[in-house]
Subunit: 279 residues, 2 copies
């Protein structure tokens, strides 16, 4: 396994691989890898023969009051996980490599980025689409793998790839969960033991809403309120619970098409997101 | 020479070329080709062995009151010129191929795009950077050639390539002029015979300013006023004349660094741009 620190070196390496007919898979991450990332590596391994995992805590997707500085980092552990999972190269650029002082070009998705997390994190998705474009151009992958836990992000990246014609196949991996249902996230490490125990209200609420839906309930406000109630009674603070179209993210009154039930909630100072499909 | 109508076909073709070790040069155009474009094809031919010329009148770089519908088109003539100049492929997508009804992703440069043409055409450069990104991803070139007549556009594209890490070398070709100095432009065909004769005031003004600069004049307002006066006395209407830093496009008071003297002016209803270097 090689560690690549510069964009130029990454592009040269990828072009060598491409010329020799190898198919490149990219797993973009912010590091502090967990079993969710490992599952994405396995997906990339199935779809390509050369897996690049990028580790970059991208400052432009954090808001000014957010946890950029606190975001957990452990490169040695990440490197070991990548090695164990057969990753070919870790792309590990630093900020000076990624953002020149006069940086001024952004990739902006201006429809799907507006609701849900776009409401509480207004510059977040601009940072995501911009850095993903940069990673695509640095790694030149044939296929890139993202997690479905970040459902809105995944939809936005699929839209970006379509709109800007990136010659890249996007593959989405299912959310990996702890035994009690909490979605894996690097941010779970912020939770105190008590907060961690209470945070399970998020997947419990989503599951109850899915059960209600399976029993015939189609009113979006009812399905959302089940989730909010679970979180509230566990002492969490709901940022949003929304039932939206899975293709446009437009809010639904009645669930008459494939829907996404999406939630963001705080336990203590930690903001967690999760979602469930209704169909 | 092949004509390629779809993005998918273009990407497949480019990948075949790449695998066989060929170096791809792209000349992006809006068609109605003239000797300026021919000079860019010759530059591309020097820097690559496979030249793709794209023809696409990009609607998103035209403002609502601008000349999108009137923009001159002559595909047969363009095709013949390309064939005569040894172009390998003409990429000729249509609007339905380029912009889906739900298109929502833009590439935005938010510094160099603000002054000069950005003032009078506020959405123009967003359209340019977006379509150039799309063309880059469709054609996958090693090198792309643009004209220096569109000096601000060239600088913005260089910035975009740096910021978003496109693995593409940008080459700029000098402005090609008529015998009397008027810069070649597809829009010159809008000019009546009288307007055409008067429009030569633009390059004449720029040349006078360059002569003043060579004689030691360093005050930007003086250099600009020479250009404005020439255009005004020929009956043209100045949109802007500006003396700006050639690296940042910031306005200069004194010309103490490599400068760009940039002009946009109307003769009749036709808006023409031109520029000169001061150094």
């Amino acid at each position: 396994m090689i560690i690549v620190r510069t964009i130029g070196q990454m592009q040269s390496q990828s072009r060598v691989w491409r010329r020799s007919g190898r198919r490149i898979g990219l797993v973009p991450t912010m590091g502090f890898l967990h079993e969710g990332h490992a599952s994405l590596i396995r997906l990339a391994t199935k779809r390509s023969d050369t897996v690049v995992l990028s580790i970059y805590v991208n400052p432009t997707q954090f808001g000014p009051q957010e946890d950029l500085e606190a975001y957990p980092r452990d490169f040695e552990r990440d490197e070991a996980l990548c090695r164990d999972h057969g990753v070919t190269a870790v792309f590990y650029p630093d900020d000076t490599e990624m953002y020149a002082p006069s940086f001024s070009t952004w990739v902006v998705e201006d429809s799907l980025s507006l609701p849900l997390c776009g409401q509480s994190r207004p510059t977040h998705f601009r940072g995501v689409t911009t850095v993903v474009t940069k990673l695509f151009n640095a790694v030149l992958p044939d296929v890139a793998v993202f997690g479905r836990k970040d459902a809105q992000q995944a939809l936005i990246i699929e839209r970006m790839v379509r709109d800007l014609n990136f010659p890249i196949e996007i593959v989405l991996g299912p959310t990996v969960r702890e035994a009690d249902g909490l979605a894996l996230s690097s941010r779970n490490r912020y939770l105190s033991e008590a907060e961690r125990a209470r945070a399970v209200a998020i997947p419990r609420g989503l599951r109850r809403a899915q059960e209600l839906y399976a029993a015939g309930e189609r009113a979006a406000p009812v399905l959302c309120s089940v989730v909010s109630a679970e979180i509230g009674s566990a002492g969490g603070h709901v940022d949003y619970v929304a039932c939206v179209s899975r293709s446009t993210l437009a809010p639904l009154g009645e669930v008459a098409e494939p829907a996404l039930l999406a939630v963001a909630a705080f336990f203590g100072c930690t903001r967690l997101i999760d979602n469930a499909f209704l169909d």
